[in-house]
Symmetry: C2
Subunit: 468 residues, 2 copies
C-alpha cells in the first residue's frame, strides 16, 4: 500500500526560485507578411550563476505553462550549482501566458497559424541572443539546451538547426521519429500494454475487455446513466459523442500512467503515487467479471489517476491531465506539423482497435482549425532519421515510456548518442534526484553531465583557438 502526502511535492516546487521576465517577440521569424509582435514569458534563476563565463542552461519550453516544466525539471536545478549555470526556462509560444493574439489566438488560422516548432525555436534564438547581450558576463557563455518530450524534440532540433546558438542538447524522451513512415503506428500502444502486463497478468486484460464492456453498457440510456453514476462523472453521459469522449479520456489515462510510471510520487500529468501502474493494477485483478462488475473494478483503478489527492468531487473526461498542459495548443500542433500516427488493434495492445486514417484525421483537423496537416513537415525540416551531420546531442529514453518507440535509440555518431534507461518512464532523467531513483537513471544523469562538461570544454577550447 502506498501512502503519500502532497506536501513533499509542494515543498519541492517552492525550492525552485526564479524571476519572471517578458520579451517582445516577433510573431513571424521567416517572412515579412506579418510584422506583429507579442509578449513572451521566460524564467531566470541566477542563484548559482558565475558571471565570469558560466554556462547558460536553457530549457526549451514545450506544450504548457512554463512554470509546470520549471517545477518538473529538477535535473537542471540539481546540476546548476556545480556548473555555476544561469538557468533559463523559455515559454513556448501559444502556451501559458505567451499568447500572440490573446483570446483570439486559436480562433482562426491567421492567428493560430504561427504555432509551429520552427517559430518556437526562432523565438528561443532571439531570447538567448538578447540575454547574452543584456546580461553582464554572458556574452560568450556556452548554452546547453534541455527538454523533455516535445521539449526534448525542440532541444535536439535546436542544436541541429542552430549549432551557433546552443553548444549541446539533452533531449530526454524526444520522439523525433514518431512521424509518418518513420515509426510503425502500433508500437506506441504496445509499450503501454507491456507496462501494464508486467505489473500483473490480469491488469492489461481487464483494460482490454473494458472497451467492449463500456460499449455494451452504454448502448442503452439506462446504461449511460448507470455508468455516469458509477464513475461519478461530472456531467452524465447522454450521447454517443459523450461515450467517445469518455473512451478517449481512458485511452489517455492508460497512456499517461505508463508515461508517468515513476518510482516515487510525482505531480506531472496528474498527482500520482509511486509506481502508479502497479498501484492501478493492484485494483484490476479479475478480467472474468461481467461488464458492470468489470467497470466498477476499473473505476477503482481509474480513481488512482483522477483522484489520488482525494480532492476531486467528480470525474471530468474533458480534463485529461494537468490544466497547465494546454490541450488546445497541442491539438492544433498535432493537426498541423506534429502529425503522429497512432493505431491500435486490441490484440497486441490493450486499447480499443482503431486504425490510423490520415484522410479522416485531416478532415477533422480542417473542420476544427481550418488547417491542412503537413505530415512530412518535421521530417523535411529536421531530417527524420538522417541526423548524422549533427553533433552534441544526447537522446535519452526510458523503456517504460511508450514514447521511446519514436525515439533515437542508437548511437548516431560519437557525439549524437543514445542513453537508454531500462527502468525509466517519460524523461525520468530530467526530474530531480530522488532516493527511489533506479541505478540506471543515476548512470544516465552521470553520462549527461559528462557530455555537458565535454561540450563546454570543447567550446572554450575553440574560443581559445580563435583568439590565438
Amino acid at each position: 500500500m502506498v501512502v503519500v502526502t502532497l506536501s513533499s511535492l509542494l515543498s519541492t516546487c517552492d525550492a525552485y526560485k526564479y524571476k519572471t521576465y517578458f520579451y517582445q517577440q516577433k510573431v513571424d521569424h521567416f517572412s515579412f507578411a506579418n510584422q506583429d509582435n507579442f509578449i513572451q514569458r521566460y524564467l531566470i534563476s541566477d542563484e548559482h550563476w558565475d558571471r565570469r563565463g558560466g554556462p547558460i542552461f536553457f530549457y526549451a519550453g514545450n506544450e504548457g505553462d512554463i512554470t509546470l516544466f520549471a517545477e518538473n525539471t529538477g535535473f537542471v536545478w540539481d546540476i546548476a550549482p556545480e556548473f555555476n549555470a544561469l538557468v533559463v526556462f523559455g515559454e513556448h509560444r501559444y502556451y501559458g501566458v505567451s499568447l500572440p493574439y490573446g483570446n483570439k489566438s486559436f480562433s482562426e488560422p491567421k492567428y493560430s497559424g504561427y504555432l509551429t516548432s520552427e517559430q518556437a525555436l526562432a523565438d528561443y534564438v532571439d531570447i538567448l541572443t538578447y540575454l547574452k547581450s543584456a546580461i553582464r558576463g554572458a556574452q560568450k557563455s556556452p548554452v546547453i539546451t534541455f527538454g523533455g518530450s516535445y521539449g526534448g524534440m525542440l532541444a535536439a532540433w535546436f542544436r541541429i538547426k542552430y549549432p551557433h546558438v546552443v553548444q549541446g542538447a539533452i533531449a530526454a524522451s524526444a520522439p523525433i521519429l514518431q512521424f509518418t513512415d518513420l515509426t510503425p503506428c502500433d508500437k506506441f500502444g504496445q509499450v503501454v500494454t507491456a507496462d501494464f502486463a508486467s505489473a500483473s497478468s490480469e491488469c492489461a486484460e481487464v483494460i482490454r475487455k473494458s472497451w467492449a464492456a463500456i460499449n455494451s453498457v452504454t448502448s442503452s440510456v439506462e446504461g449511460k446513466a448507470w455508468l455516469s453514476n458509477a464513475w461519478k462523472l461530472c456531467q452524465p453521459m447522454r450521447t454517443e459523442e459523450d461515450v467517445k469522449t469518455l473512451k478517449d479520456y481512458l485511452t489517455n489515462v492508460w497512456t499517461n500512467l505508463a508515461m508517468a510510471d515513476y518510482p516515487y510520487p510525482a505531480n506531472f500529468l496528474a498527482p500520482l503515487p509511486a509506481n502508479p501502474v502497479k498501484v492501478v493494477c493492484s485494483q484490476l485483478t479479475a478480467s472474468g467479471h461481467p461488464p458492470k462488475t468489470l467497470l466498477e473494478e476499473l473505476f477503482a483503478g481509474l480513481t488512482v489517476y483522477f483522484n489520488f489527492t482525494g480532492q476531486a468531487k467528480c470525474l471530468n473526461p474533458d480534463q485529461q491531465a494537468d490544466v497547465r498542459l494546454d490541450d488546445k495548443g497541442w491539438d492544433f500542433q498535432a493537426c498541423t506539423e506534429m502529425v503522429m500516427p497512432f493505431c491500435y488493434d486490441g490484440k497486441q495492445d490493450l486499447f480499443e482497435p482503431a486504425p490510423w486514417d490520415l484522410q479522416q484525421y485531416a478532415k477533422e483537423c480542417n473542420r476544427k482549425f481550418g488547417v491542412q496537416p503537413r505530415p512530412f513537415m518535421a521530417q523535411y525540416m529536421y531530417g527524420g532519421k538522417l541526423i548524422n551531420a549533427a553533433s552534441n546531442i544526447v537522446f535519452s529514453n526510458g523503456l517504460l515510456d511508450p514514447w521511446s518507440t519514436g525515439g533515437v535509440m542508437w548511437n548516431v555518431s560519437s557525439s549524437v548518442v543514445s542513453v537508454i534507461i531500462p527502468e525509466g518512464a517519460h524523461h525520468l532523467d530530467l526530474r530531480g534526484a530522488d532516493p527511489a531513483d533506479p541505478p540506471s537513471v543515476l548512470k544516465a544523469r552521470r553520462l549527461e553531465k559528462a557530455f555537458i562538461t565535454s561540450w563546454i570544454r570543447s567550446y572554450w577550447e575553440e574560443q581559445q583557438q580563435q583568439q590565438e
Copy 2:
C-alpha cells in the same frame, strides 16, 4: 585591342539543353496562417544522368530568371558528364516566372513578405524531395548543391540547414558575412577601386573625380541638358532625383565591371569584352581634364559597359544590368533580410562619399515596401562566422571580386574550406571552361571536383554501413 563577336556566347547558351518543369509550391513553409500555393519553375537535364544512383547537381537559384543562371554556370554543365549527374536548376521564388502572387507579388507585404531566403531554401527541400520520389533511380541519389553570389549563400546555407537533403555545397563568391557587425562597410568599395587602380594609375582617379564633375556640371539646367546629350541618355535629366539616379547607376556600373572582370568576353551582368576593367580603363587616361572633358572621356569608358554590342540607342540609367536580374526582388530582399552595409569615403575608394545610415535606410525601406529591415536576421538564422558545426562546404572567392570582402576566406574546418582564386572575378569558377582561364581557376575547379567526389563517396559509404 579586344575583338569579339557575340555569336560564341549565343552558341554557348544553346549548348545547355534542359527541360522546363513546374512544381506546386507552398507560399509559407513555416506557418499555417497562409496556406496558399504557387507555381515554381525548375529546369532539368538528364542527358548525362546515370539512373543507377548518379548524383543530383542542384543549382540553388538566386535573384533572377533561372535561365540566366543556367546559361552562366557552365562548370556544372561541364562536369555533369563525368559524374553522370542529373542537373537541376531551381528558380528562386519571386523571380523569373515563379511569382507567388503574379502582378501583385510586390504590391504590399501580405504578398511580398514571403520573399526570404528561409522560404526559398524550404522550396528547394520540397522540390528535391519530390524529384527523388518521382524520378526512377533518384531515390537514394546524393545531392550536391551549387550557387554563385546570393546563390552561393543559399548553397552554403542549404547544406548548413538541411544536411539531410544536400550532401555538400559549392558556394562560389558567397558573401555570407556581408552583414552588420561582421564586415566593415568600406571594404567592398576598396576592392572595386583596387581593380581599377591596378589596370592603370589614372583610371581610378578619373572615376574618383567624376562625381564632383557631375555635381558641378549638373548644378545648372544647361549642364543637365549638356550631360544628357553628351551621354546620350534615353530621358534627359531634369531633376536632382535624375542626377542621383545617374550617379547610382554609375556606382553600379563600376561595381559590376569589377565583378564581371573575366578574362574572356561574357554576358552575365551585361555583354562585356574580355578583361572589361582594363578595356574601360584604356579610355580613362587623363584625370587632369576640366569637368566636361573628363565626363566626355568617362562616357567613352561607360560605353564599354552599356553598349558593347553597339545595339543600344541610348543610355538608360534605370537599367543597371541584365533585365533578367530582377532589381525589384533584390531591392525587397535588401530591405528585409539581406541588409548589407556599404559605405564609401572617396579617398580609399573611387566612389562618391556616402556613409552607411541604417536609420535612413530603414525609413526608405518602410516607405518603398512597408517593411522594417531585420539586419540581424540572416546572422541569427545561419550563424554568421560561427559555422564550425557545419560540414561539406567549399567557399570559393576571387580576389578581383569586391564580394570577397564578405566571403569566408579561411578554412573553417577540414570539411568547410576556403578556395581563393587570385585572378578571379565574381564566381569565375562556376563559369564554363575557357581557354583564357587563369591557372588559379583551373586549380580551384579541380579542388571543387575532388571535394564533390569525396562527399559522394562518403555518402555511399554511410549508405553501405546503414545496410550492414
